[in-house]
């Protein structure tokens, strides 16, 4: 907002123009005239024929027989076109796997090459590094993956563009990602955790110490270092620190006392007494939506405290049928997962599938 904050009462009174707001009240002749003139630009195209929708079941490997023959025909046709192209171009692809890079501001550098002015675009290939100084911004785009806005002071590397896993390393700086690749395909490796895209849009920051922060605006993100994992849905954030990994995620509208106590609990408290004190603050300040935080705390607190967290979480979201206190206290993973699915965020089976699929191939947090 650029103006008007200094006179909120005047503005509130002036906003009594209900006709502009919801079409009620006395019609404003000037606005009526604007509506009449501008109405000619209104969208009135009929609904188009949309192609068939691939249902949301993502990992369906066998087609029904009636779909099998058209699918096979398509595969054969694509293979034939591919073979012809291979023969015509000697097997050299026109475009190596990578991201298109464009300069948004200043002069980003792709390795030693400066990107700016008339020559303001290039391509980031596997193994290459993109750097922006404090005056530069860049944009990465890959049609089948998504778009990344790169803020000033950022250094990132493209590690992998393999089928099913697209991986970059963010050594420092800030990126805003908008990903349309299937969940789990796009991974960002940071010095203290890796971020796995499970949805749509998030911002990831890494400072010079290697500490990171992810803030999700749409969908959800998984943050992982070795066995420690955090899930961050839209509206939530999560801090990560070198050698510790991801902290406990929290909704950004939680109270400052809640967030401060959680940070101390995750990264600073060195005695069980301190941890107990900060945990008590977090539990006392929790709201129903902070079930996100409490669910994560179940596996991060000592056993005596776990029963307390269990009870508080159960008050907000009762455990589903078949999930028992005994099971949760011994950190039974299937029971934890079923409770998570009842919290109203996203289905954790997407994440578990990702873990199984990339077991052994999954990247670990990078080291500079």
């Amino acid at each position: 907002m650029d103006a008007g904050n200094n006179e909120p009462n005047k503005e509130l009174q002036a906003m009594g123009n209900d006709y502009l707001w919801d079409g009620s009240g006395e019609p404003d002749p000037e606005i009526r005239r604007l509506e009449a003139l501008l109405g000619r630009f209104q969208y009135n195209r009929p609904r188009p024929e949309f192609p068939e929708i691939v249902p949301a079941k993502r990992w369906r490997f066998f087609l029904p027989r009636r779909q099998l023959y058209p699918a096979l025909a398509t595969v054969v046709a694509v293979a034939a076109v591919g073979a012809v192209a291979f023969l015509m171009y000697g097997g050299k692809p026109n475009k190596l796997p990578g991201w298109d890079v464009s300069a948004v501001e200043g002069t980003p550098r792709l390795g030693q090459k400066a990107i700016s002015g008339q020559d303001g675009s290039s391509r980031l290939g596997v193994g290459q590094t993109l750097e922006t100084d404090l005056q530069a911004r860049a944009r990465l785009r890959a049609d089948e993956i998504g778009q990344i806005e790169v803020e000033p002071g950022t250094r990132l590397r493209l590690l992998d563009m393999g089928s099913g896993l697209k991986r970059i390393a963010l050594d420092r700086g800030t990126i805003h990602t908008f990903i349309w690749a299937p969940p789990g395909e796009f991974v960002v490796d940071t010095p203290s955790a890796m971020a796995v895209d499970l949805g749509c849009a998030y911002t990831l920051q890494v400072d010079d110490t290697g500490a990171g922060l992810v803030r999700t605006s749409l969908g959800w993100v998984g943050f992982k270092l070795k066995g420690r994992e955090s899930f961050i849905p839209a509206g939530a954030a999560c801090v990560t620190r070198p050698r510790v990994g991801p902290g406990t995620p929290y909704f950004e509208d939680a109270s400052s006392e809640f967030r401060s106590a959680l940070t101390r609990f995750d990264f600073e408290d060195s005695t069980s007494e301190q941890r107990g004190t900060d945990l008590a603050i977090v539990l006392a300040q929790s709201r129903k939506r902070d079930a996100l935080t409490l669910w994560h705390l179940l596996s991060r607190v000592d056993e005596p405290q776990r029963a307390i967290v269990y009870n508080d979480l159960a008050k907000f979201i009762p455990p589903p049928s078949g999930v028992t206190q005994t099971g949760i206290l011994r950190l039974d993973q299937p029971m934890l997962d079923r409770w998570w699915n009842d919290l109203g965020f996203d289905d954790i089976s997407v994440w578990r599938y990702w873990e199984r699929s990339w077991s052994g191939r999954a990247p670990q947090a990078n080291t500079k």
């Binding site: 509130l12 606005i31 000619r40 209104q42 969208y43 929708i53 691939v54 249902p55 849905p233």
Partner: protein, 213 residues
């Protein structure tokens, strides 16, 4: 007659930043949820109904950012992309915000690829000798007004175009785009003030310079 403070209070109570005015559209969102679920399960008719509900919003978002002649095709592109990516939408209730984000992104992408001479206002009227609101040339006046709206700061363009071009109400804009009613109301109000200034015959700004999104 109410006092100023009573007036301010009643505006707040009526939903400046809160719910009541938006409630008339809340049932739309409840109806959207099963439609989005059905579309994700492969129901094309359900996706078609979502198109009917959201096409004007997508059109308005794009019209605020790209040349008029490109908008209709980009609307189709947005829905085709959304259709292909529907299975990745995690929060069904955020369908409108997700769709608006796709539209804004495609608009950015359009500008990234567009030739430098392909200006936002290239297809609009150059005739500004008369005041647009009193001009007899309705087509030229409409183009000049649209041009003026698209020269406003980005935060004001979308709500004004959705309100004045697409005929959506403020609560509907908030519901469809996922923005808060308070921010839509403030941006509509401030936007219309700035538009009046730009359209004023005494405006010193002359023909506004186009700000690229």
């Amino acid at each position: 007659m109410s006092t100023g403070s009573e007036h301010g209070f009643s505006l707040l109570a009526a939903g400046l930043g809160g719910r009541p005015l938006g409630e008339q559209f809340a049932h739309d969102l409840f109806e959207d949820t099963p439609l989005v679920s059905a579309a994700r399960d492969g129901d094309r008719a359900a996706f078609g109904r979502l198109y009917d509900r959201y096409a004007r919003m997508v059109h308005g978002v794009l019209l605020a950012k790209v040349p008029l002649g490109e908008v209709d095709d980009l609307v189709q592109d947005v829905f085709v992309l959304a259709l292909r990516r529907l299975s990745t939408l995690r929060e069904i209730g955020s369908f409108g915000a997700w769709l608006a984000a796709i539209a804004r992104n495609l608009a950015k992408d359009y500008h990234r690829r567009a030739a430098p001479e392909d200006q936002l206002t290239a297809d609009l009227s150059e005739n500004e000798t008369e005041h647009p609101l009193t001009s007899g040339d309705h087509e030229g006046a409409a183009a000049a007004i649209l041009d003026a709206i698209r020269s406003l700061p980005e935060a004001y363009r979308e709500p004004l175009i959705l309100r004045l071009v697409e005929g959506m109400t403020g609560p509907e804009i908030a519901t469809r785009t996922g923005l808060t009613p308070g921010s839509v109301r403030v941006n509509l109000h401030r936007g219309i003030q700035q538009l009046r200034e730009r359209l004023s015959p005494n405006s010193s700004r002359g023909r506004p310079e186009q700000e690229r999104p």
